[in-house]
């Protein structure tokens, strides 16, 4: 298929006039029957690729996703777009629904599945009986021990792929260094020929800013200043509690409609916050890193890291949620010595000790494992992936070293005085370009005050009427939900 034909189809089916970088190239490769790896920035429409392919490739599309919240977001979008029947298989499903889905696999076009679920023998057996059109591995960097999000369950996807024999395999990720790309090729495609599309991570419309603070309260003072203009604003914090508390503080101090968002909320409540934010009915969302993947709001003008993320990869993914419409957006990260210390402490507390691994493998009661279900999850994942005790200890030691190294590197970046954008590109891009630093590029608070910056940047504000934060009564809601109420009364 030529790019023109693809573009025509994009217009009729999806109402877009242009592909985002990489989409057309990956589609062409896959339609030619090639396996492919796409390294595309967050918000570049990764999911459009498999949505587009649905009528072109027969058989079931399996999409592996590491996070349950991510799966339900993607599922909702497919359902909303009516592209074919779609469903999810993960550990949250009850036995009844699971049986139903497995018995009716042929009725579905899209199956979102968690890696640990996909690797279960009875699921594989069932999938071997079905024609698999496309096998999509999302967040493929999780396969690499050099990435920050290594997941042992991902290691088995290569084997699974050989068993279920998809016509084509597509690996997708937003962030991958050279090392991570090599790991993906090796683990998932066993060094077979793979078409690779790698876009530069650079997003010229994002202004990068480091904001140094001495005291925790300084953040709040600066934040209040930033919340005056009506920019759609996303604030990242480190914990659920922080998200709730900061949202409450903002609601008390400003008139801006605000909400928090984290993985502890149930699906429908999360979906509601996303949709209100999308419709500009919410101005400000305070979120943990759970917010983002799969969310398509394109006019986030201000993105704040209230606390520092653990590495470049997360930082890049998160700032990538600003300015997707291509208009300028400001991304600002607070830099505070305490944040760095807190992050190190958190990481250390989450480290799995060799002794715990040993206890796990020899089935000796271990207090740490009883108190920390997440550590138990990790070890079980290693066990499922057939790791021996020594291999687990070696791998954990390596990933811990990688992680510690990543924090240090990111901290150096935050404290640096050279062009921030150049450093981001140097870190990720295969062949890094030279950035032309200008006044729309980046700054640190040491070089330029915030008020100076704000007067220089002219970020568009919301022009729609400010949504009311006052509740409607039931009587005011009915006419909005339902039409011809009078006719109802008469009938």
């Amino acid at each position: 298929m030529t790019k023109q034909t693809l573009q025509a189809e994009l217009k009729t089916r999806f109402k877009f006039t242009e592909f985002r970088p990489g989409q057309a190239e990956l589609l062409q490769a896959i339609l030619d029957g090639q396996n492919a790896l796409g390294v595309l920035p967050t918000g570049s429409g990764k999911s459009l690729i498999y949505q587009f392919l649905a009528p072109h490739i027969e058989g079931l599309f399996i999409i592996v996703s590491p996070l349950i919240s991510l799966m339900s977001d993607q599922l909702e979008r497919i359902q909303a777009a009516h592209l074919g029947k779609a469903t999810v298989l993960n550990s949250r499903l009850n036995a009844q629904d699971r049986r139903y889905i497995l018995a009716h696999l042929a009725d579905y076009k899209f199956l979102f599945v968690a890696p640990e679920t996909l690797c279960q023998p009875q699921i594989i057996r069932r999938l071997e009986e079905v024609n698999i059109g496309l096998f999509v591995v999302d967040e493929a960097h999780c396969i690499s021990g050099w990435g920050p999000d290594f997941r042992p369950d991902y290691l088995r996807l290569g084997t699974v792929s050989q068993q279920i024999k998809p016509q084509v395999t597509l690996a997708l990720t937003a962030t991958a260094t050279d090392q991570v790309c090599t790991d993906i090729k090796h683990q998932l495609f066993s060094h077979q020929a793979v078409y690779i599309y790698r876009d530069s991570v650079d997003r010229p419309n994002l202004y990068l800013r480091t904001e140094f603070v001495q005291r925790d309260d300084d953040k709040w003072q600066i934040l209040q200043q930033l919340l005056v203009p009506r920019w759609p604003t996303l604030i990242y914090v480190a914990t659920r509690k922080q998200a709730e508390e900061l949202a409450l503080k903002i609601a008390g101090a400003t008139k801006r409609p605000v909400a928090f968002y984290h993985a502890g909320m149930d699906n429908l409540a999360r979906q509601q916050v996303q949709q209100l934010f999308m419709r500009d009915q919410l101005d400000v969302v305070v979120a943990t890193s759970a917010f983002g993947m799969g969310i398509n709001k394109d006019n986030v003008r201000l993105l704040i890291h209230y606390e520092m993320p653990a590495n470049f990869e997360n930082y890049l993914q998160e700032i990538g949620r600003a300015g997707r419409d291509g208009q300028q957006a400001l991304t600002l990260i607070f830099v505070h010595q305490n944040d760095f210390q807190r992050l190190l402490t958190r990481q250390q507390a989450n480290q799995i000790q060799p002794q715990t691994v040993s206890h796990f493998y020899h089935q000796i009661l271990d207090a740490t494992l009883q108190d920390s279900p997440s550590q138990l999850d990790v070890l079980q994942a290693y066990q499922r992936a057939d790791f021996t005790e020594d291999e687990v200890i070696a791998t954990l030691t390596k990933t811990q070293r990688v992680r510690a190294n990543q924090v240090q590197q990111f901290w150096r970046f935050l404290n640096s005085t050279t062009c921030l954008r150049q450093q981001v590109c140097d870190y990720f891009d295969h062949q890094s370009q030279t950035i032309q630093h200008d006044e729309h590029c980046c700054s640190t608070s040491q070089a330029l005050t915030l008020s100076e910056l704000l007067s220089k940047l002219t970020l568009p504000t919301l022009t729609t009427e400010s949504p009311t934060t006052q509740l409607l009564s039931a009587g005011q809601i009915w006419p909005q939900l339902f039409v011809d109420l009078t006719e109802t009364d008469e009938s």
Binding site: E76, D97, L268, Q281, L282, A474, I477, L481, F482, T488
Partner: protein, 322 residues
């Protein structure tokens, strides 16, 4: 979890806190059900299915440090202090605790809640010619049910649905009506976030969820006065048998006057398990006949047995509750 919201589950008399945890998370054993019966907490079975043991323990710890609860380690029981009882009364006065909730009558509130949200969304979107949207229900079962319900209902039924919905919600106390209506949404009406709702109603997130169940349960109760064929009523399937599948089977044979020895002979299960099925029925079946001759005979086999002892406990407790 907000600790003080657990206060209504305790009383001045000592209660086994682990049994209460299992009731809340819906672990169905005779011992848990019997505890539920004794504490008058059976309606709250499966009330917090996602509650983690660690969170529950932490909440109890907090209530103990506030001097609201007192633990008795030897018996693994907890009771309210005088201070705790005062806090309990104050909480109940705030009208957020779902007093009318009954799992055995209303069914799983999480499913019922999704049924309500999704049916309203489907009708509202249909009326506004909106075809593309993500369903407001996470359970495939609920999605399939409401889809079928929608395809069955014509224009008249849809009008009737809206009419019955408005009438039922309007009949609720105003705070519950507003809470319920403000939780609904569709493409035509975006609704409001739980966070905003909590701010406006002066409720924390946990209090909001609780009051929402209170509103739902009142609503579920009120729709039972609608005609059977009301499209709104049909959204909510009647609660299924309260018994587990095994107990249901055993109890059906028992009801059909099969001799106990035959039931035992024909079953793959141990007699002890089958006796537990009968106990489950004795706790949960509304008109369980404690006086029947076969039952008396079964007791007479060994009046000191676990079965006989439990049965008389259950009977005494049910008499007391009635």
């Amino acid at each position: 979890m907000q600790a003080d919201l657990l206060l209504p589950l305790f009383s001045r008399k000592p209660r086994r806190y682990q049994a209460i945890y299992y009731i809340l998370t819906g672990k169905r054993t005779v011992s848990n059900l019997l505890a539920g019966l004794t504490y008058d907490l059976l309606p709250y079975f499966h009330f917090y299915p996602k509650l983690l043991q660690a969170d529950y323990q932490a909440a109890l710890q907090q209530l103990m440090s506030q001097q609201y609860l007192k633990v008795q380690s030897e018996t693994k029981t907890i009771r309210l202090t005088a201070l705790g009882q005062l806090a309990q009364v104050q909480l109940l006065q705030r009208q957020i605790w779902p007093q009318t909730y009954d799992y055995w009558r209303d069914g799983d509130w999480q499913l019922q809640w999704e049924r309500l949200l999704l049916s309203v969304q489907v009708i509202s979107n249909y009326q506004h010619q909106q075809r593309h949207y993500a369903p407001l229900a996470t359970q495939p079962l609920v999605q399939a049910e409401i889809r079928q319900w929608f395809y069955r209902s014509g224009r008249r039924q849809q009008h009737q649905f809206v009419k019955d919905l408005i009438a039922t919600v309007t009949g609720l106390p105003k705070d519950l009506a507003d809470l319920l209506a403000n939780s609904l949404r569709s493409n035509a009406y975006a609704g409001t976030s739980d966070f905003q709702l909590g701010l406006d109603l002066n409720l924390t997130a946990d209090e909001l969820s609780l009051k929402r169940i209170a509103a739902l349960s009142q609503f579920m109760h009120d729709i039972t006065f609608l005609p059977q064929q009301s499209p709104l009523r049909q959204v909510f399937p009647a609660a299924p048998s309260p018994l587990s599948r095994g107990a249901e089977h055993t109890y059906a044979l028992w009801q059909a006057d099969q001799p106990w020895s035959t039931i035992v002979q024909n079953s793959y299960q141990k007699e002890g398990t089958l006796l537990e099925h009968l106990l489950e029925a004795a706790i949960l079946v509304p008109d369980f006949n404690f006086e029947s001759l076969p039952l008396q005979q079964l007791i007479a086999v060994n009046p000191e047995s676990y079965f006989a002892q439990r049965l008389s406990e259950i009977q005494a407790q049910r008499r007391k509750n009635d």
